[in-house]
Symmetry: C2
Subunit: 159 residues, 2 copies
């Protein structure tokens, strides 16, 4: 660990880009950012899109279950629901039987919007990954799924 060269005072670090995580984050950030720009033109954020999509498939959903599923806090869901409601895309209704519970549901506008946003998501994915060969695609996807499985990860990635 001696350092005889007077012109090289600091030890060398392992290169940042030697980490696979670095490249993943790099690409992933760019993909997300590009997508957020597309969504922005429709007045929607990525988090909002994720929630809208959940509601589209569930018809009506309980906020705390959504929080679990999306890996967000209940507080965050609460505010997100506020925003969606303000935009006229979703509504809250409190459960008749147990008034602690709410259910969130899409408005007709919200329901109409989701497929359009889904098309943007498809386009975005194609933009970044469409040129990959089928082999590359499945290989990368298999590796990612294996990691998820191995570590027992859950939760839809939001941000």
């Amino acid at each position: 660990m001696t350092d005889p060269a007077p012109t090289a005072p600091q030890p060398v670090l392992p290169a940042l880009d030697s980490h696979l995580g670095y490249w993943l984050r790099f690409v992933s950030n760019q993909v997300s950012h590009a997508f957020s720009l597309k969504l922005e033109r429709r007045g929607v954020t990525v988090a909002e899109w994720v929630l809208l999509r959940e509601l589209f498939e569930q018809e009506a959903a309980v906020p705390s279950a959504l929080a679990d599923r999306l890996g967000m806090t209940r507080g965050a869901i609460s505010k997100l629901a506020d925003r969606l409601a303000a935009k006229g895309l979703a509504t809250r209704t409190t459960d008749k039987d147990d008034r602690r519970f709410q259910s969130l549901a899409l408005t007709p506008q919200g329901r109409a919007l989701v497929p359009e946003l889904a098309a943007l998501a498809d386009a975005n994915d194609a933009e970044f990954f469409g040129h990959l060969s089928a082999g590359e695609r499945t290989q990368v996807e298999a590796v990612m799924k294996a990691i998820v499985r191995r570590l027992g990860l859950r939760a839809v990635p939001v941000d």
Copy 2:
């Protein structure tokens, strides 16, 4: 586009997890989150780590150049520098010749800390990707690098 089945009112969306970007973000988020937990124990955030690392290699750096390189605004760098200074990890000095310019540099504590954090980064990467075969690693890395190159992306991924 008619929908004859009364029990299936909504059209089906392309599955979210059919997107490669979905899996990338999923894994990438988990990697980042795990890393942020490790850093937290040393009282450092991910953004701070990235900046510290840059300073470690550059000896002294101009804030606005860093902002460019890290894909952050000058305002963010300014506040980040505040925090690093408050923690005694970096210092600001204004350029003698052009007093608009500053240069940021690590303090001895900052310099001492970086290799420790780098070890955490190594450990984190190994935790998620260490079990991959050399072939898988290089394959995934090659695909990511190709995407970066193809789209002419720059900027170190921070968040």
